[in-house]
């Protein structure tokens, strides 16, 4: 008697054999999972590295410290006295003051943070790469990245202006500065403590700390308790507690970035799962006879379902493993390039991998339901045209249309004046988009037919391609839906960004009526300043404005502010249509109005060197930050000797702002204490920020587009497999290889074009809704619609081009077989 081996898991064996024998059928699914999981893995790993880099920089400063005292606002002399008192406490080895301030570099709108470096060598936590530490109030060390950005080197001079002071310092050294992807770290510089504490210094520290080092006789906690007794009301923390608090405050930016990355990762996964469902549906259709045979020889429905689940798990696990490898490798590259930390968040990576497997398994549930309905008799039916798919059920159609209508209604509500307009718009857009995606079966096939009819005239291959593209409407719709989702999101962002730019431009004319201002804190600008600034290329005109310092008294305390008296020549360089300043009104910076507790239209008393006026005040952005604007004759009353302390200038439309700014900087450089401002920088910052955001999000969404295109290639590849005999017949009847490849290329182009067209239409609509909603939230007026045609056409061209590219492999495969080989294949 021979022993008959018993197979414990016959369906698992079948499923795995299927994968081994026909790997090319599922390779696209593996790739899709690999890309999604790889993307998410890279995201979490890069973020972990960023956080580690960030933590290092926060921890480093107080690494040698035992106790940190954060002192409140107050007299620097008192702080120095407190430090001295603390240094006498038993157990304290040293107590040094640490200051922090921020200032704008003259000639640019860049802000630089100044951190004092205590004289105590133990507390010099940054690594000096070149030069020496600052010793006098006139010396500064720049972070290496900051120095590169500002194009400064050792020995150069830099002028830094804060709210009420200006200082020109000499660069004495460069400190190592880790590069950060998230710019969570501000441009940094180091100054000597005497910068703040020297007698007569007007530099204000925004955050003053006393760094206490113990002599090792007591624990940090005991030391903190002793210091608290001396410090009184100031906050005393151990350095561990201090670091923790700082991290909690500062990781907000990282968190938002993390959220953004994960949202886009979720989009990639969604696109991937649409594609995976589609692939499994095709596979089930192709294996109809095989599944029928299994049922005929006695396989139960559960066994069929289990077989597919095993297959999906194997595919998901393979894709996830490859994806984790890819993502970790990518993150390692990023860390190496940025010279940052590399940290592997094992828990998160494992979770991402598990999600990859789960997506594969969940995606197979619907196809499995269809598979178990296959009857044993199907094994015997010779000619199977898999085109016979169920039509979209009436209930589903009604559901899709209902969702779209509901979404549109909510979007409509978002346009009315309600406090939760943004919620309505965003929620409505989601519902509407979900409806559109589920309704692709309704509108994509007609769209395919319409696009195809334009191509029909070009020849028999195009005609055959159009017929093939629509023969399986469900399949075409699912393929198109994935692409539509990805392209739609990209275009929505593009249109939103373009609209926001246009809307912001209009509002910036009101918000920043003057393109460029060059002003002294107090006193006169040199006489040639106006001419120098007007000579800068890109400047259309410049005019000097008389200014003075006055005291304004509204409801509360009197407050010293700047006042400008622009004449007719100065009003001529103001953007937009601003009426001349009447002699019967004081224009004030709206924020100043708030601060001093005045209401718009109320009376205000302004007192200058030679006189005083009481006039109604009006909020107007023409006034400089924390300043006022009055008519020239009013200014003459306030200060009969007011000098030209400000120049207003207008940029030529379309001028190269970067070049203009750099020239402006060199023109202003010799004017000590002059500060450049105006709407041009703000406008540029808005544009740069929007462009950066757009580039970043487009890059992140490109992953989703990539997956969708893999889907197009996959649908096509599987359809080619299923049409092997058909291709053979066509070849026998005289279709050239070239024509066969062309036919598949046209089919791919149609599939991707219909997805792209639908995506662009939907994306444009949602982008406009988004612009409207966000503008409303930001209180911007006159929302403008704008889209960049080249950008959008590029998206369409990439989608169609890549779709055609995706047809190359299936096309070669179909064309390679000789008619006889293919006819023989059953």
């Amino acid at each position: 008697m021979t022993a008959v081996p018993r197979t414990r898991f016959p369906m698992a064996r079948n499923a795995l054999a299927e994968l081994r024998l026909n790997p090319h059928r599922v390779i696209a699914v593996v790739v899709a999972i690999m890309i999604s999981v790889g993307y998410l893995t890279a995201s979490v790993t890069v973020l972990a590295g960023e956080s580690a880099t960030f933590e290092q920089s926060v921890i480093a400063r107080t690494a040698a410290t035992d106790v940190v005292v954060t002192v409140g606002a107050g007299d620097p002399a008192e702080h120095a006295a407190l430090a001295t008192r603390i240094s006498t406490v038993a157990g304290v080895a040293s107590a040094d003051l640490s200051f922090l301030s921020q200032g704008r570099v003259t000639g640019s709108s860049d802000w630089v943070q100044q951190q004092s470096v205590p004289a105590n060598p133990k507390l010099r936590w940054a690594d000096l790469t070149e030069g020496r530490w600052p010793a006098t109030p006139g010396e500064i060390v720049l972070g290496s990245v900051t120095a590169r950005q500002l194009n400064l080197d050792i020995g150069d001079r830099i002028t830094i202006n804060d709210r009420n002071s200006s200082a020109t310092l000499t660069v004495t050294g460069l400190a190592h500065e880790g590069n950060s992807l998230l710019s969570g770290l501000a441009p940094r510089s180091f100054v000597a403590p005497s910068f703040y504490s020297v007698a007569g210094s007007i530099h204000t520290s925004l955050q003053t700390e006393i760094l206490v080092i113990g002599d090792g006789t007591v624990t940090q906690d005991q030391l903190a308790a002793r210091v608290t007794a001396v410090a009184g009301g100031d906050r005393v923390e151990t350095s561990a507690g201090f670091t923790q608090r700082k991290l909690a405050e500062k990781t907000q930016g990282v968190f938002i970035f993390q959220l953004l990355l994960l949202v886009f990762g979720a989009v990639a996964l969604l696109v991937g799962s649409i594609m995976i469902v589609n692939t499994f549906l095709i596979l089930v259709a192709q294996r109809r006879r095989q599944i029928g045979l299994l049922r005929a020889v006695g396989a139960g429905r559960d066994q069929i379902r289990r077989g597919l689940l095993v297959e999906a798990t194997a595919i998901g696990a393979t894709g996830s493993l490859l994806g984790v490898g890819l993502g970790v490798a990518l993150a390692a590259c990023v860390a190496a390039v940025l010279d940052g930390e590399f940290a592997l968040p094992a828990g998160q990576v494992a979770a991402v991998a598990a999600v990859g497997v789960m997506i594969a398994v969940l995606s197979v549930l619907v196809p499995a339901r269809r598979a178990v309905r296959i009857a044993p008799l199907d094994a015997l039916r010779a000619v199977a045209d898999p085109a016979t798919e169920r039509r979209t059920s009436l209930a589903r159609r009604a559901g899709s249309l209902g969702l779209i209508a509901l979404g549109l209604a909510a979007i409509g509500l978002g346009f009315t004046d309600t406090t939760v307009a943004l919620l309505y718009s965003v929620g409505g857009s989601f519902v509407c988009a979900a409806g559109l995606l589920s309704a692709t079966g309704l509108f994509l096939p007609p769209l395919l037919r319409g696009l195809g009819s334009a191509l029909r005239r070009t020849g028999p291959a195009a005609r055959l391609a159009t017929d093939n593209a629509v023969r399986n409407p469900g399949r075409a719709a699912a393929t198109g839906a994935a692409l539509m989702l990805a392209v739609g999101l990209v275009v929505a962002l593009q249109v939103g960004a373009a609209g926001m730019k246009a809307t912001a431009d209009g509002n910036l004319d009101v918000r920043y009526p003057v393109d460029v201002t060059v002003s002294m804190f107090d006193g006169a600008l040199p006489a040639r300043a106006t001419g120098d600034i007007a000579a800068v290329s890109g400047i259309a005109g410049a005019a000097g404005v008389r200014s003075s310092r006055v005291t304004v008294r509204g409801g509360g305390k009197p407050r010293p502010v700047r006042v400008l008296g622009p004449g007719a020549d100065a009003m001529a360089v103001v953007s937009g249509l601003h009426p001349p300043v009447s002699a019967g009104v004081v224009l004030a910076d709206p924020y100043l109005l708030d601060e001093i507790g005045l209401r718009d239209g109320g009376p205000v008393t302004v007192t200058g060197r030679s006189g005083s006026v009481t006039l109604p005040v009006r909020a107007d952005h023409l006034a400089p930050d924390e300043g006022l604007v009055v008519a020239p004759q009013v200014l003459a009353t306030l200060d009969d000797g007011a000098p030209v302390g400000t120049v207003w200038a207008k940029a030529r439309p379309g001028a190269d702002v970067t070049a203009l700014r750099s020239q402006l900087r060199s023109a202003v450089e010799p004017l000590t204490g002059a500060e450049v401002g105006g709407g041009l920088s703000a406008k540029l910052m808005y544009h740069a920020a929007l462009d950066r955001l757009l580039a970043l999000t487009t890059m992140l969404l490109a992953v989703a587009v990539l997956i969708a295109l893999v889907g197009v290639g996959n649908t096509l590849g599987l359809s080619v497999l299923e049409r092997t005999r058909e291709s053979a017949l066509l070849r026998a009847l005289g279709l050239q290889r070239r024509q066969l490849r062309g036919m598949l290329a046209v089919e791919a182009a149609l599939l991707s074009l219909s997805g792209a067209v639908a995506g662009i239409a939907a994306g444009t609509f949602f982008g406009w809704i988004g612009t409207h909603a966000v503008s409303g939230q930001l209180n911007l007026e006159n929302v403008r619609f704008s889209m960049s045609v080249p950008q959008t056409l590029t998206v369409a061209a990439v989608a169609v081009g890549a779709g055609i590219l995706a047809s190359v492999l299936p096309g070669r495969r179909a064309a390679r077989a000789t008619p006889v080989e293919a006819l023989a294949e059953r």
């Binding site: 017929d467 005289g734 290889r737 006889v820």
Partner: protein, 243 residues
């Protein structure tokens, strides 16, 4: 060869595989198919009859020897030229899966002309469609046609280009006897009345009896030839081959 024959084979050989696993399918076949003749190529399974047809019709490449269509040596043609020969000078009728499921009957009939960028002669189309009694079926898709109707559409497609030769590979294999008889009768008539050259591969003695001549293949060689074969005569030769 005084007159150029529509199809001819000279010492045609075909071997599948190489070395130890080489399987000879044709071992030197020479045959001529005269204009307006209806020839049945017969033989038991594995005799090489299908391979012979594939090589002669330019569907597959022979290992040695020459195949001629209308005097053109197929062995010197590249794939593009060979495809053109199939499209313009040969008609095909296969056992099954003759039609594209996405096209209607008339679109299937006109497909070779369509691929060539030519338009059909309306009179010729009407004549072919009329004699095959397909007039009321032209706008149906293959799924809506019976097996016999599908094969008649395939024959219409093979004839409408006016090819040098029509190759039929077991055209009745999937049909009931009534439909098969109608189909074979039509093939014979198109040979007699239109002067169409037809080469039909079959293993059915009754089907072979519709032909003017039967070539019998065994082990990749022509072993016998019958003029005006009757089912009994064919059966007799077949039995002797099997013995």
């Amino acid at each position: 060869m005084t007159e150029i024959s529509p199809a001819a084979a000279r010492d045609l050989t075909k071997t599948y595989g190489t070395g130890d696993t080489a399987v000879p399918a044709l071992r030197g076949v020479t045959a001529d198919f005269g204009r307006g003749t209806f020839t049945a190529v017969m033989g038991p399974s594995g005799s090489g009859k299908s391979t012979f047809m594939h090589c002669l019709a330019g569907l597959d490449r022979a290992t040695g020897g020459h195949a001629y269509i209308g005097g053109q040596d197929l062995s010197v043609l590249d794939d593009r030229e060979l495809t053109r020969v199939r499209r313009d000078r040969i008609g095909f009728v296969f056992q099954s899966f003759n039609l594209l499921p996405t096209l209607t009957a008339v679109q299937n009939i006109l497909l070779p002309l369509d691929l060539a960028g030519r338009t059909a002669d309306p009179a010729k189309l009407a004549a072919v469609v009329g004699s095959l009694r397909l007039g009321d079926r032209l706008d149906h898709r293959p799924a809506e046609l019976s097996g016999g109707q599908q094969q008649r559409v395939a024959i219409a497609r093979a004839l409408v280009t006016g090819p040098d030769v029509v190759f039929a590979d077991e055209p009745t294999g999937a049909l009931d006897s009534q439909s098969a008889a109608t189909l074979l009768d039509f093939l014979r008539r198109s040979c007699r009345e239109l002067g169409q050259t037809i080469v039909m591969v079959t293993h059915d003695p009754i089907a072979a009896s519709y032909a003017d001549r039967a070539l019998l293949l065994s082990d990749g060689r022509i072993v016998d030839e019958l003029s005006d074969p009757t089912p009994d005569a064919v059966l007799g030769v077949m039995r002797s081959l099997a013995a």
